[in-house]
Symmetry: C2
Subunit: 217 residues, 2 copies
Amino acid sequence: MSRVRVACLSMSLDGYVAGPYQSSDDPVGVGGARLHEWMFATRTFCRRVLSRDGGDAGVDDELVARGFDGIGAWIIGRNMFGPIRGAWRGEQWRGWWGDAPPFGVPVFVLTHHPRKTLEMAGGTSFHFVTGGMHAALQMARDAARGEDVRIGGGADTIRQCLHERAIDEMHIALVPTVLGAGEHLFAGLDLRGLGYRCERLAGGERVAHHLVSRITT
Amino acid sequence: MSRVRVACLSMSLDGYVAGPYQSSDDPVGVGGARLHEWMFATRTFCRRVLSRDGGDAGVDDELVARGFDGIGAWIIGRNMFGPIRGAWRGEQWRGWWGDAPPFGVPVFVLTHHPRKTLEMAGGTSFHFVTGGMHAALQMARDAARGEDVRIGGGADTIRQCLHERAIDEMHIALVPTVLGAGEHLFAGLDLRGLGYRCERLAGGERVAHHLVSRITT
């Protein structure tokens, strides 16, 4: 059965998934880049996202690969698609990822501002959803044709999904760093009360991998 | 030089170091016992705290042992010493640990209510400090005679010490569980702003070990 998944969500020891003061020059916030170093160092990320050789094999790499396997559609928040706030101001911005983004499947972008679908190279298409999370989930499930839907982020989108128990499983990479401020993942969310449990996936080379799953009731 | 240390502080993935609804029957709160299972399973904890054989050797065990090594005095909060709130109501309560507590050195208990020092078997003595954290730190440092001072907890005591940059290093065991509510360790504390950094210590058998250290300025 198709699941809704979060994968490779990098979180600091003090619970932040992005640093403070996010901007177009610094989309992950001050100190936030440290959160993603482990992923940038993997073979799968180098190949799929950076389109180059290199990177390490190992446990961290396996988890990154698993995050792409069996995904039939993505949902991402507006801010993960680009730095523009408010109306789109033309059609120029086509995402952070160049002409051939690493998704390879339909991507549903949550936004308040309508925009035409973008067909990119390599099988990626960006669909702009103004009807909210539930509409996006329905559209992504349909597009995924039985495969899983991956929620890419950012923090707001994931928190909203967790609050509505829409996520089946969430892989969190615990990064040995403290950020002190920024986007907190769990503040105000009672994960246990929402029916989630946690288990250890693996100790990786650079981070500790955890799986948070919803107990089906 | 004598350092002020926290060791074996068990924290859930969502940042709690104790569950909600703490009581004398349930001193670590609902779900909180799960946080300490990894420690109960170690050889050092069985021997030193439970006074029995058994328990596992390994990385987790080494970290528990390290938490006892070179400690010349402890500081603990009132609630870690016992369940009684307010005035002491007699001298009957002598801690959770029986006649020979596992500390083996002087222990300074933060409280608003004066009480005579308790001399226990095995080298432990409980000293009740009504002058606040700084007084307790001074007394503990003097008593430790060049060895380290360990801050035992609970969360309030540790948070207060972090806020005043009184802790030199803090070993946190990240436990693969979610509690959803309870005593949060880092809420409202800007660890980076306070001058703390984090590194990975080791992936243990049951938990992931992290070290948060103050950068000396």
